[in-house]
């Protein structure tokens, strides 16, 4: 829009506070729900917004929208969005339900860390899914980093144990551990995950540790339940939100950040090796509404 048109619009449509009626706020609430933010968070955010708009005497739609963006950004600003890789080695365990993008994100992250000058080792901890280790091995080649793997059907704990030993022997900076996709309501698989967590705590007690939950942006309200369960089983230090290159918005991470105080650390924006970016809350929110 040209400057004159903008000026004219601002001049001819001065909004009084009253003219921002319920319809306007309903539309914002609808936009949030369509972005998978969830009913509770959407209602809460809009209630907060009404108060703020009133307190700050906001009368223009765009100003009010910006205030909503502020509120959502605040909700997302929890914890430290950077990875803690302060020890050698440091260990990152990558977990999540089936098909969300764990293995791919590890490939991208390995590439990123290597470019930062770190020596990276991948642990093929998914010994269950067909060709999972082959897939990770291709990513290791692409990123030019080491991998420790065993045969399909091997004990993932044994692979992890080997990887940690190899990391110490080879002076590795970061171990990125892939795990099999598992639904959070499966007790036996969650117990297996808790075991992996314990192996890391035992074998690398002083290492800086990250436990990253990979979440598919197309996931709806179930995402919050996933995050709760994985946090309880393995602890969570961050989230990788994948597939944001589609039309899904991934709004459920706002509810997750709020309830569990776990920050989003990275976003996945495609299937290529460079398609992983640090999370920018403001940018994310601007895409949301």
């Amino acid at each position: 829009m040209g400057l004159f048109a903008k000026f004219k619009e601002a001049w001819l449509k001065p909004m009084s506070f009253d003219s921002l009626n319920e319809g306007f706020y309903d539309d914002l609430e609808e936009a949030l729900i369509l972005a998978d933010v969830g009913m509770d968070t959407a209602v809460d955010a809009v209630a907060q917004l009404k108060k703020r708009a009133y307190a700050k005497l906001l009368t223009h739609e765009e100003d009010v929208k910006n205030a909503l963006r502020d509120i959502l950004t605040e909700k997302l600003s929890v914890g430290d969005p950077a990875l803690d890789l302060s020890t050698r080695p440091s260990v990152a365990l990558i977990i999540g339900v089936n098909g969300v993008g764990k293995t791919t994100s590890i490939g991208k992250l390995a590439h990123r860390l290597k470019n930062e000058g770190k020596k990276v080792l991948l642990c093929a901890g998914d010994t269950f899914r067909a060709a999972a280790a082959d897939q990770l091995e291709i990513w290791a080649e692409r990123a030019g980093v080491d991998i420790v793997r065993q045969n399909e059907g091997a004990d993932p704990g044994a692979v992890l144990f080997d990887s940690l030993a190899a990391a110490k022997a080879r002076n590795t900076d970061v171990v990125l551990c892939d795990t099999a996709g598992r639904l959070h309501n499966k007790d036996n698989l969650m117990k297996e995950l808790a075991k992996l967590r314990k192996i890391i705590d035992r074998e690398a007690p002083n290492a800086a540790k990250e436990t990253l939950l990979v979440l598919d942006a197309t996931t709806g309200q179930n995402g919050l339940i996933q995050a709760r369960q994985f946090k309880e089983t393995a602890g969570l230090t961050g989230i990788i939100l994948t597939k944001l290159d589609g039309t899904a918005k991934g709004g459920i991470v706002i509810a997750i950040a709020q309830e569990l105080q776990v920050p989003v650390k990275f976003v996945g924006l495609g299937e290529g090796i460079d398609d992983l970016r640090p999370f920018d809350a403001r940018e994310f929110v601007n895409d949301l509404i």
């Binding site: 609808e30 729900i33 369509l34 972005a35 998978d36 969830g38 009913m39 339900v97 089936n98 098909g99 969300v100 993008g101 490939g107 269950f128 899914r129 067909a130 060709a131 999972a132 082959d134 897939q135 091995e137 291709i138 990513w139 692409r142 399909e152 996709g181 639904l183 959070h184 309501n185 499966k186 598919d216 197309t218 996931t219 709806g220 309200q221 179930n222 995402g223 339940i225 597939k243 290159d245 589609g246 039309t247 899904a248 918005k249 459920i252 299937e271």
Partner: protein, 307 residues
């Protein structure tokens, strides 16, 4: 189980209504607000919820309902009927080709479960109908996609056709020829995951369709999908004209509102559901069961009897 939470919510909403004798129009609208909330929390598409609630409200505020002595019971019946209608009528099966091999093309977003469930379906067809399926590796992009298909093929003892990283259209054509020559009466094309907004890759699917004229194009959808289900399903349907949907990962605890959304948005039936990672974990989709599950029909029926 999927939908459990939704049925609880609906039950709670109707329990409130049940307390009263006769319902006013305002009562009905109050109950519908809870229905709306429950459906949205179950990830049913915003627009579908809006239409659904409007339709049910209209029917419920009809004179005969409000005048009835047991309006709560009437409303439950109506919600149930409308929901069942939305889920589709009788359960739909795969169509078999009248001549030549039946070609089933698995399509969908990344990670939805195409490869695994294509293989499961091939196994099911062999078990149920004595078919001799062939799995075809048309995903030439995902790292180790071909290996993955070979591994599941081996586990099921079903042959896998692959040509490495060749053109997927060409692979599909050659696979169909191979099937004809080798007595395979069903061909399952495992295509790469793709975004519905990726024009180049959507064009690739159209080209495969034009080249081999599949008997069935099945859209594979993750049951955990949120509001985006409608966008993705509509786009795949518009581009390809899908014949049905395979809903995966129903062994999770997602309420699976996507099932309703997709059905409403495309009008295409859900034909199968995936209920686990193992290769025999696939079932026929039963719309009436799914609708009952949404509404918690067990509870609902006892409630109706008491009302």
């Amino acid at each position: 189980m999927a939908f459990e939470g939704l049925s609880e919510k609906l039950n709670a909403a109707f329990k409130k209504l049940r307390g009263k004798g006769r319902l006013t129009e305002a009562d009905v609208r109050e109950g519908m607000r809870e229905v709306r909330l429950a459906l949205l929390e179950a990830d049913v598409s915003y627009k579908v919820v809006k239409d659904f609630v409007a339709q049910v409200t209209d029917r419920c505020v009809g004179a005969d309902v409000l005048d009835s002595l047991t309006p709560g019971q009437q409303i439950v019946k109506i919600v149930n009927e409308e929901l069942t209608a939305l889920m589709g009528g009788s359960n739909a099966r795969l169509t078999f080709a009248s001549k030549g091999p039946t070609i089933v093309m698995m399509v969908g977003l990344q990670g939805a479960g195409k490869t695994t469930n294509g293989a499961k379906l091939a196994g099911l067809m062999r078990r149920q109908f004595g078919k001799r399926p062939l799995l075809v590796a048309c995903d030439v992009y995902r790292p180790a996609a071909i290996n993955q298909l070979q591994v599941v093929g081996k586990q099921l003892d079903i042959p896998v056709f692959e040509m490495g990283q060749a053109d997927p259209v060409h692979i599909a054509e050659e696979a169909v020829k191979y099937a004809r020559d080798h007595g395979n009466d069903m061909v399952f094309l495992d295509t790469a995951g793709r975004l519905h907004i990726d024009e180049a890759l959507m064009d690739e699917l159209k080209a495969i369709k034009a080249a081999v004229k599949p008997t069935e194009i099945l859209l594979v959808v993750d049951a955990m999908t949120g509001q985006d289900a409608v966008n993705a399903a509509s786009a795949f349907d518009e581009a390809l004209g899908i014949d049905g949907v395979l809903l995966t990962k129903l062994d999770g605890d997602a309420r699976g509102g996507a099932a309703l959304s997709i059905r409403a948005a495309t009008g295409k039936p859900i034909k199968f559901v995936g209920t686990g990672e193992k290769l025999d974990m696939i079932e026929l989709f039963h719309p009436e069961r799914m609708a009952s599950r949404i509404l918690g029909m067990g509870d609902m029926l006892t409630f109706i009897e008491k009302a």
